[in-house]
Symmetry: C2
Subunit: 332 residues, 2 copies
């Protein structure tokens, strides 16, 4: 049986296993210009929570009763297009389905020699590009500046911190466990780390970790962690809004301190972005990331769960803060 | 007697007459390189409320027991510098004092032929420059875009709206009285106006006034008026933070909806600025504003109160929303 996973119901608050259902996929047949592909690595990403709600956002909502869709690395098992042959590895926005048909023009062929294939969902995929463009283009780092990254041990955050170091910045990472923080300090060479589960007063903790104040805050989490960081910004600071994972499961409008007066006093910038804003510049981003990886100046971490039917569990796990680096599911 | 006005005590919440005291100024004597000047027009500005608190901000706090200081247009009554002669009109950051000594290098000589002298505190002074640089440099207006201005009948807002029209934008002004709004519509040619005192649901009022959404929000007031505007921003919107007058007298940290998730979804920018950030470009700004004024493409309004001793009253009036355009005190 060729399995697929559908959105059974829209989550209210944190998603649960009940919101998903594993079903048999309908029969499929690849036509001219199409490929039959078999999923190898399926990405689970926090932004997908947004598509599970029916609120209008930058991507249209998933439909209840239809398969979830996300980024997938797959292998071509049947080709009806001259540019692809059986065994080619590709990445595309695909359904959560083991075997499926996709139009050849919607996939990108992958080079297995540059990086492990799974990296095309992480360091060389959307998370890496998100880190690259958000930090470089909005953060505009200068040598010697102080950078704080929340969700620092996540798929995006760990890339931001390493790029910040490459740009000569001092980097403080905020994450939720001592294990994650040990990785950030020892392997990824962050200058300092804060475990938010062990921090009572984030304003003071950031002030202590950043004696010269915060020049760039790359925000993946939002909420009270961000309040603590933002209270310490310098004149001319840039706050890059990448994610707000602490709020994605809120059932009411989150409330917090009004930030405008502080942004005004500090001539500071707060800017949101979506990685597709930078679609025309993806080749630039991939080329820099691949080069740094090849030179050993960037390293990457993954949390890989095995088994197609584990996809809902892997997705739900994103909101439990247990995973390090890029979370994905490997299909055997 | 040469009078001065000192900060007698720091206001808690809205300033009152008790926070100020009129005193006799000490004897003064102008030395080589200095001028003796007599105040003619004294500016009262909302930002000065910040300097009356002892919290750290972009300008140092006023000292209790010392004269208030602000922008003043004055006449030279005694010159000890070759570039100035008796009768010259100058503008400078001066004390609230009728007659005082100032170093010649701290004043700017004014041209009475370009505009009424009082305009150097308004349209051709900080408020006009604030409108110009905030709107042009951060707002980055494009022809056909929709612009909302809060505090639209104020010293800055009325300039922003007119520049927006000059740039081919559709302009919606928010102000607090029907008289102000009639002025905005009829004299200053705003496209549409909203009286916030008569608006129960600002989100809906903005949605109705801006059927194509909001591309630029020039914010002078903050608080719930801003919440209503920001709920209607378009993809790629720019929110220019110029003032937050509705919050300046708050005695607790103002709380409101967290905006980051919306800014993220909309790839929107929110940026604060202080006019002195643009000091090196003031000549550019003054030259554009003076040209538009000369061509009859900009007009300006003032609320002028007469008498030095009315300064505290004029300042307090800023927070009562009664004044239109630039508030200043004329000394006879």
């Amino acid at each position: 049986m060729n399995k697929q996973i559908i959105l059974k119901s829209r989550p209210i608050g944190r998603p649960t296993a009940d919101n998903f259902e594993i079903k048999a996929a309908p029969a499929i047949l690849a036509k001219e210009g199409e490929l039959l592909v078999k999923a190898k690595y399926v990405s689970v990403d926090p932004y997908m929570r947004g598509r599970m709600s029916d609120a209008k956002s930058y991507a249209p909502p998933f439909e209840v009763g239809k398969p979830i869709e996300g980024m997938v690395v797959a292998e071509v098992t049947e080709s009806h297009h001259p540019n692809f042959k059986v065994g080619d590895a590709v990445v595309a926005l695909l359904q959560w389905q083991e075997i499926q048909v996709v139009a050849a023009e919607k996939v990108t062929k992958l080079d297995k020699n540059i990086a492990p294939l799974s990296y095309y969902l992480g360091l060389l995929g959307m998370p890496g590009l998100t880190a690259y463009f958000g930090f470089i283009d909005i953060g505009k780092p200068l040598t010697g500046e102080t950078v704080v990254v929340s969700g620092a041990a996540g798929a995006v955050g760990m890339v931001v911190g390493q790029i910040a170091r490459l740009k000569g910045c001092r980097v403080i990472g905020i994450a939720g466990s001592d294990e994650k923080n040990a990785l950030l300090l020892n392997k990824l060479k962050f200058d300092e780390v804060i475990n938010y589960h062990k921090t009572e007063n984030m304003v003071e903790a950031i002030a202590k970790a950043c004696p010269n104040g915060v020049d760039i805050y790359f925000d993946n989490v939002g909420g009270i962690i961000s309040d603590g960081v933002i209270a310490n910004i310098n004149k001319g600071a840039r706050i890059v809004l990448c994610g707000q994972i602490s709020l994605y499961n809120s059932t009411e409008t989150p409330v917090g301190p009004r930030l405008q007066s502080l942004l005004l006093k500090k001539s500071a910038l707060m800017q949101g972005f979506i990685i597709t804003d930078y679609a025309s510049r993806f080749p630039e981003g991939v080329s820099h990331l691949a080069q740094w990886l090849g030179e050993g100046m960037l390293s990457y971490q993954e949390t890989i769960i095995k088994g197609f039917e584990k996809l809902p569990e892997a997705f739900i796990g994103l909101f439990e803060g247990k995973n390090t680096g890029k979370s994905l599911v490997e299909i055997e």
